[in-house]
Structure formats: C-alpha cells, structure tokens
Symmetry: D2
Subunit: 341 residues, 4 copies
C-alpha cells in the first residue's frame, strides 16, 4: 500500500530496539522497528547462528545467539520477544531485569503463574510490558468493537470464533508444532478477541480435540479443537484446526460472529475483498503489512516514547492464558474446568 515513508524528525529522541526470535513474527517485528522514524533496530537474536545471521542480514542489523548481549547493550531500550509459544517467560524476565521495555507475542505464557511473574517484574521496575494481540488493530475487528460499544447489537449474548490454518503451517512452517497445538497456537487470538469483543470474562470451559492426522505424520498434537466458554453473561464457542486442506483459499480461515440482544455482527477476516483465481482461488492478505506489522508495534513504541500506558496491558495476557490453561486442563480431564482467577 502506498504510504508516506517514515520521516525522521530532526532533534527527536531516538530509541534502540532488539528482537528475540527470528521466525515469522520475529522478522515482522524487525521490519516494523526498522521502518519506524524514531527507532534504531540494533540486534536480532536466534538460538541458531544460521537463522540469526540470515535475519540480521535481512533486517540490516547485528545478530546474536546470546540474549545477554542484548540485555547488556545500553543502546537498546525496547525488546520484542517472539520465540516459540512456550518459550516467552525466560527472555521476558531477563529483559525486564535488564531494564528493557518488552513487547511479547501471544500467548504471553502457558501458565498464569508465569504471567504473574512477568507482570510483577514489570511493575517493580516501572517498565512497559505489552502483549501483542495484534488482531485488536485489524480494521474490521476494530470496527466490530466500536459498533458493539455503541450498542448497535444490544448486549452481546453469544459468539462463535473460528481461526484455522492450512496444514502446511503445522507441517512445514513451524519446527515445533508437536509442542504446541491449535489450543496454544490459534486460541490465544480468539480467546483474546472473545473477551475483548464480548466485554466479559470467561468463567468455565469445556473443550474437545481430535487427533490422528498430524500424529500420523509424526507430529504429536491435536489436529483440531473446539471449546465452549461460559462467560459472565453469555456463551462463546471457539473452533481451531490446523489441518485445513492444502487447496484452501488462504493460509488461514478466520471468522468472528457475535450475536447480541438486538443485532448480529459477522466478520470474515480472511477475505479482504479481493479474490484471485489463477492456479486456484486465492484470497491474499493485503491489509497485513499495515495491521499486523505496523500498527500494534507502532503503538508499543509510542507508549515507550511518550511514557503513556500500553494499549494492551499484561493483565490481558494473563487473563487469556488463564483461559488457555483451563482449556488445556479440560482437554486432559474431559471435564468442565473453572478458569482460575
């Protein structure tokens, strides 16, 4: 999309940033920092020297396999943590301990306890800690939230949120799918949206999962999970699969349907109004560079720069993780599980 390129403001203070993680999201954070007029991207980290150096070349910054070198670099004020889902806590705590503001990818952690540790560490030090629930910047979801807050559908009573991935994400994009699953990789998005859009907390959950397709390929995790969330005043069902057929029109399928006492909202997030059929039907994400890569990371930078509260405080990450934990327990026990407060 044609947008005026960032222009550095003369005399404005500059910030140094680093990114921990060189996967898809890590690279996305790196691009966002690099393009921002107020920020210098200093370094990118990966466990693997090969991936770190490649990402550093791509991002035009130094690279490292040693998180301490980032922690100890006085030029760096802000750090994005975009390691695999289950590996956020340690680098976040390390960076907060080193006095860095932190933007952490979703889910914040796999346990509420770890989230609480991070929150306490941030509170003690007065540092910014933000969870990157980037869907809160997606235009149609922003509008949905606004319409709900305006009362256009009355009070929310029920929602259905579907977020699924084409099977290649689990089998090719990620090396660590077996340690995750739709409930950890996809539900963080929809649990957060459910809480945000409904304006209610989740009390209890029941979840069921299907295994067999991915395990048949040596990836031991759920193919698909559905969960029913009992909210304070309503109901939400989540559905996520990561075995969408290779011929599916987009790498994801994402739908959000919210019913209220007076009306109904339907959001389709994987079709942005354009369809291309050549080899097959394809619905490209052209809003992505703007809504995933740019806006939420700019919002984090602005909070650090201006000393204002982060738009998604870490308590939101904690609340989401508490729901995810209850879902994971329900998958194990086959029972309804209470969400821990």
């Amino acid at each position: 999309m044609k947008r005026p390129m960032g222009v550095r403001r003369s005399g404005a203070p500059r910030f140094g940033a680093a990114v921990i993680g060189a996967g898809i999201y890590g690279k996305c954070h790196a691009r966002a920092y690099r393009k921002h007029p107020d920020v210098d991207l200093v370094a990118i980290w990966s466990r693997s020297a090969e991936r770190a150096s490649a990402a550093g070349r791509e991002a035009g910054c130094t690279w490292t396999t040693d998180q301490d070198s980032i922690a100890g670099d006085p030029r760096i004020q802000m750090v994005s943590v975009a390691t695999p889902d289950f590996g956020h806590t340690e680098p976040v705590l390390k960076m907060l301990a080193a006095g860095k503001h932190v933007l952490v990818e979703k889910p914040m952690a796999y346990t509420a306890d770890e989230c609480r540790q991070m929150i306490e560490a941030a509170n003690r030090s007065g540092l910014k800690l933000m969870v990157n629930f980037h869907n809160r910047w997606y235009p149609s979801l922003v509008e949905a939230k606004r319409l709900i807050e305006e009362g256009r559908i009355g009070s929310p009573t029920m929602a259905f949120l579907r977020l699924s991935d084409r099977i290649e994400v689990a089998t090719e994009w990620l090396s660590w799918a077996g340690g995750s699953g739709p409930e950890w990789f996809l539900f963080p998005h929809t649990v957060d949206l459910a809480r945000w859009l409904m304006g209610q907390e989740v009390l209890r959950v029941f979840a069921g999962g299907h295994k067999g397709v991915l395990s048949g390929r040596g990836i031991d995790c759920y193919d698909a999970v559905q969960a029913l969330l009992v909210m304070e005043e309503g109901l939400v069902t989540l559905e996520s699969s990561w075995i969408l057929p290779p011929g599916w029109r987009s790498v994801i399928q994402m739908e959000v349907d919210v019913q209220g006492s007076e009306g109904k909202l339907e959001v389709v997030c994987d079709q942005e109004g354009l369809q291309l059929t050549a080899g097959r039907l394809d619905t490209p994400f052209f809003l992505d560079p703007w809504t995933t890569e740019k806006l939420p990371i700019e919002a984090f930078i602005a909070s650090v720069r201006d000393g204002t509260p982060v738009p998604v405080p870490p308590e939101e990450g904690l609340a989401c993780t508490a729901v995810l934990q209850a879902i994971a327990r329900s998958l194990r026990t086959g029972n309804v599980e209470e969400v821990e407060r």
Copy 2:
C-alpha cells in the same frame, strides 16, 4: 417450480391419510398428501375447533378435534403427527394402536423412553413409523452426504452446525415457545444432521445457554444455546438462537461446516442463490416446497404403498432424542453429560 402435476394411475390402490396438528408443519403435511396421486387426504385434527376447521377448509378435507375419530376411521391408513414438539408420544401411540402407519415430526419425543415405547408399538404391529428429518432431503445436504461417503474429505473430524431463527418465530409464530427452546425446536435438525453426516454417534455433551431477551418478553426459555458434542471419532459444535434480529435476511440462518482429514465441506442452507433487495435484503426459500413438503412425505407414502422400509427409521429418532436429553441435562447441571444408550 414448474413440475408436472401428479397424475392418478388408473386401477392403482389408493390410501387414506390424516394429519394430527394444524400448525405450520401440519398444513405442510396436508398439502403434500392432497397433491399425491395415490393418496386421499381424509381429515385434519387440531385441539382447537377454530384452527381445525380453517385447516380443513384450506386442505379440502374434513376436520376434527377428536383424535379417536381418526383412529377409528377405516379409510385412513397413514397419519402424520405434527403437534407441538413435546406432544408427539400420545397421538403416535394411539395411531399405532389403531393400526395406522405414522410419520412423526422431529424431535420424536423429549425422552428416549417415550421413543422406545413408540418403536416397540410399531414393531409389535408391523406398522411403519418414520421420523420426518426432512433436511436429509435438502439438495445441498444430500450432496454433502454423498461427497462424504465418496471419501472426498477423508474421514470427518469436526463439524459446526448453526441453525437459528428470527425472533418472530418464538414471539409470534409459536404459541408454545416458552415450553420449548432452541435446544428442543432447533437442535433436533442439527443433531440429526451431525450424526448422519459424520456417520458417528455422540458420546458426551456439554451445553450452555443464554436467557434474558425472550424472558424479558414473558417467554421463559433460552434465547440461544451452544453445545459441544464429543463423537466417537470427532467433535461437533451446535449453535442455535431464536433471537435473530428482525432485519435478518431470512427467517432462518443455517450453516453446516464439516472438516475431514483431507478436505472441508461448507453448506449454506439459507441462501439458495437468489437475493432480493427491495425493502431489505431477503433470501427466499424457493426449494422448500419441493424439499420440505414433497420429497420426505412422498418417501413415507412410498414405504407404506410398496411395503419397503422407511428411509428414516425410528431408531434414528431415538438416537437424536437421547442426545437432546443429554444436552438438556447438561444445561441444568452445568456438567458434561453422557448420552444414554
């Protein structure tokens, strides 16, 4: 739709039919019998003389408020039972006892025990007993079933079925909505489709419901219900509301989404390819006269006439009701409930 009108076959045996119930579905059965070349529609019954006589005039047959007069009429071989959801058992048993073949509306009953009584009565007497799961004749669902059986999506792993009604159905069409609810009025359709399309039984269920909108209007039942069904080899979520806003494009919303190990099927049953926008957007049901009114009732008549098995045996009605009962229990207890076998 232009179709050649039924032509009576000379010398072919003729059958007499009656309809118990003069609501929307009762009138639909009456029209189907009246148009069939092999059938004489003899009588229609309603508890109310006013409604019975109006329906009789409309259908061109005699009317009665006395079910015994139907039971005792030797001209009648087949009877449709289309009373309110919770009132099927008594007339079905009475008609079977009187030697009539019976086509009963869905749900067969509110308890599995009542279903078993009906099945035993039919078995003892050798009479036909069919449950009118008419969606099994809806063209896109027939095709979905065929594609699944052909293995086009691999083995079914997960499904989502949504069937909702505009609020006027609960507030205006039915006088007895307060004695029913989405779980009794709408789930019979989707529970049956889930079992039929997945080719699996339901083991356990969890359900949640929302109250407030209809109860605020003096109709004491759920506004909306979601249920998660654990199947033998997969998962199904059902969603039904009957508070769709008055501006909704159709009197229903109905979607069936089935994911398999190799592919995915999406069926939209409330849009048949035509949209009319005048006062507002409207998606009329032009397939309805053929698929709801004609085909399943013709299939019942053919079974009686030809002495062949009914296409939807009463055991399917029993299995559906057992799931509905477990859902109703789960709504009461807030727990996961086993489906009784």
Copy 3:
C-alpha cells in the same frame, strides 16, 4: 437427489423417442427419455459410428449413423436434436417432415430465416416444436421470474448477465469450438434469460470481442465477448468468456443481476450452497440432474402426450436467434446493429 423412480402407469399410452446427437446434451436427453415412465427410448444417432454405438450402449437403445432410419421408424413420435450449435436446421426439418415432434437445443439456428422455416414446417404439420431453453427451469431463475412478475422489483430497468466457461470446454470438451464462440455457445442462454426476465424485446445491440488466447492454441474464435443490448424499456449487458482459468471453482460462472425501479435481484447460478475444498475449491452442480436433464424434457413429453402447447414455443427460439445474429453482425462491423423483426 432421492426421488421416487418413475413408475409406468398401467394401460397408459406409450411414446417412442429418439435423440440426434451423442454429445453432452444428446446423452442428457437420452437419459431423460430412458427414465420417463411414458417413453421408450428407441434410438440415438451420431455422425460417428463409434460415438453412436457407445452412446447406444450407455443409453440401452439402438444406435444409427443414418437419420433417415429414425425418420422412417414408426415407433418414434418424438425426437431431440442436439447436434453442434450450427447444425440444427437440417435434422429438425427432416424430422418434422417425417411427422415427428421435435425438441431442439439452443440456439435454434444461426439465422432467423432458418428458424422461420422450422416454425412454418411445424405449423403446417401441427407438430410440436420446442426449443430447450433449460434455464427457464432452474429453481432460482424460476423464482426470479416469479418475483419480477409479482412486481417485487418494480419494472425492470437494467440487467447484467454473465455466463462463462472454464477454458477446458473450448479446448477439450468440444471438437468444434473453432466454429462457434462465446456469442454462439453461451449467449443463447443469456439472451433468452434477458428477454424472459425483463419481459422486453431487444431493439439494438453493440458487441465487442477479444481474440488471442484460443487462437494462440489453434482455435480460431473469440475468447470473450461483451454485448450491450438496448431493450424496449431498459438495458442489458451480457458477458461471456470461455477462457476461465483451469483453477476456477466450477466449470461455469453464471450470474444474473436485474435491477428494477423498486428493487434488485441477484442470482448466482454456479453456487448452489455447497463448497468443497479438497484439492481446490469446487462448487458442484447438484441441482443439475433435476433441472437440466429432467424437468424441461418432461415438459416436452407432457406437451406431446397431453396435446398441450409447448412451454417454450419456437417463436422464442427465433427471437433469440435474431438477437444473436445482430450481435454477430456487430462483432463484424463494429457498429450498433438493429435486431431484425
């Protein structure tokens, strides 16, 4: 779709039928005759002995490469003509001369003069002559016509009709695509629908075409044609291409959009409510066996059997051809062309 199979009526008169042409449509007519309770399919003709014999085996009837043997067979009362687009006139005239009722595929002919000859021949002999505009039986178009006649969109002012084919129809399905083109193979459908739905005649036309893709493969015809039709009281645009990419979701794309003074109708004829994604997105035609193969041919048979007028008289075929001729002239001249009356 589950439908009661045809049952032969005892003692009813029987009719013999034959089919001239053993392509896709010829086989479709043969299947329809074979399934009809009042008809015996006697013979099928093709220019090629190989194709004729294969089609005869498939249809369970005798085959021939000699049209005279059909003309001379006293068992045959009705004949379908389903030869290539440009080859209808001769067999239709021959069969009418032999005293057969004729159902001819669209377009009736390439010239209005030929249509007039056929009409005169039928009128002289008192034989039925019907043009198989089968879209007039397609459920959503039937409903569109009904809604327009009810005045639901006010008076029709403008329409857009798109009917396109995947490139394989021109390159693989037909051997004679080079002698035809979108304007002859696809426009007969939409010209007829435009006249029927708008309830108006076409006065003048302007058309443009694109060549290059198919001619690059040695098939010398238009890839795509658009035509603007000035009607008595409104406007219609037609668009047809037969180079839809191989990955397109259906073998056709078909949309009909009619705007009236008070409302708007949108019909999508290539999506019947079901989507299958396995190798790629696919929107199967499950209504086809019923609406293309069964209903219009049954209507022809009923006219012959009952001595009633055919539902699509040959004058409709003539009017359509007159428009097609004007379009073809406009493509040649680059000018606006009057439709001959």
Copy 4:
C-alpha cells in the same frame, strides 16, 4: 482505526491549505488537511454563506464565499477544488493563476478542452495539479493493480466494473443531481480504474441509459447507464445506477472484475469483511477514513512539500474526461463514438 496522531515536526516548513467546496468531499479534504502535521488549514469556501460558515466551524478555519480572498491569501500554497462535478474548471484556473498548487476532484472537467486548459496553466506556472482519483489508494484495488503488474492473470482481456449508489444520493444528498447523472457522477471512478487496471486506453464506446424513475421525481437525469468500452487490446463494460433501493446493504455497490489470459481477479469494494444486521443488513465502510480521506490527500501534500511529481498527473484526468465525453455523446446519438485523442 487507531492510528498514531500526526505529530508536528519541529522546524519543518509549514504549508497553508484551502478548500473550495463544502459538500461531502470538500469536508473530507478539510479534515485531511487539518489532521496533517505539516499543514495549516486556512480557509474553506462555499457559494452559500450558511454552508461555508458551518463548514468553517466544523473544520476550525475561516470561511469565505469569495474565491478571490483565497487566491489572494499568501499563506495558502495548496487548494483543493471540490465543487459540483461540472464546476471545476473556473476555480482550478483561478487558483493556478494565483500560484496555488491544486488538487481537483474527479471528473477533472466535462470536456477535454477544459482539461487541456488546466494542464497548460499548470505547466506554464510549474505548479502541481493532481486529480483525486482516490480509488487508486483503496487497498484491494492497490493489490489488484500489483497482482496484474506482476502478471498473475496474464494480460488483461476483459473487465466489468459496477459502481452504483443508493437512490438517496441522487434524491437527498445532492442538490444538483439533475445536472449530472451516473455517467458523470459515477463513471469517472470506473473509467479511471478501467484504464489504470487494464493498462490500456479506450478507443471507442457505446452507451445506453434508462430514464424514468428519477425523472418521475423531478430529477431529470439517467437512472442507470451501461457502457461498452473497446480498449486497445480488450473490452470493458461499465454499469452505474443511482437508483439502488433504499434497503440496499450499503450506500454504494462497487465491484471490479478483471479477466486475464491466465487468471481472473474479483474485487468487491463495498464489503470490507464486516456485516451488521440490526434494523437491516449493513456493510459499513471502515477503511474509508484512511483510504479516501487520508492517503491520497497526504500524497498530494507530499508532492508539494517535497517537490516530487504528483502520483496522478492531470493527463490522467484528461484521458478520463475524453472517455466520459464520448460516453455522453453516445448516449445522445445512439451510436458508437470514438474517444478523442
């Protein structure tokens, strides 16, 4: 949408802007200038003192009914001209003569001659002159252009562009609809998109129009127009109506369909992925503030500020107007008309 508010850069040069026209678009330009960090909105003009003062209050700037006061104000370097469609030329020439850079709304003028006068005036003075074809900034159309340029559909062969308005635009929003019509108010958008997306010039046109609905309400203009454009290497059909029924889901309907030798692009611009059904179905434009109001006007400002070429040079406005003139001639003559070069 949450976006970081503009931040004024310390020490950067500032520009003064004015807006001529206080209708929907005039206000839109005013808002865009007001929010821009490098611009001071100085004044807004309307012929009517009432509307000018209201718009001035809303925009927080002075107002005037005298264009000369804008022309003579040395604080103003850039002027937007957003008067009714047919009244652009005079103010544009006046502002250029006064040394102002000009952003003019589409269509540039009703005649190619007027466009040429404006271009010459701009060239003589070295001032920027840009036509605000804002759809070139709409995300899905930007992506469509990119995909076409990448060759994803091969070479463009045919397009269909529909842009229509709900009847209230002609009957309520505009006071001057009778002096315009779909061919002047709506075709400028789609003619420009057709040329831009196809990458070809229009050689000849044929157009037809329907009158009656609006003229019956005393507004003497076409209700609907269709035009067939013969391009250098392909075909384009345009359809525009401004009598869409009041119940239509959006104030516009906008679809762009481009077929290439290897693929097909379908863009729906009036559904941005969110549907709200309360009183009726509604598909709000949430991308609008960003794509209509912000990006193209920012691009104009950047050209003035940085001394770079405008992204839509006035020759594009001229080419568009030449096509519009040919369409208007064709509507008058009923003949095919050549586009003047």
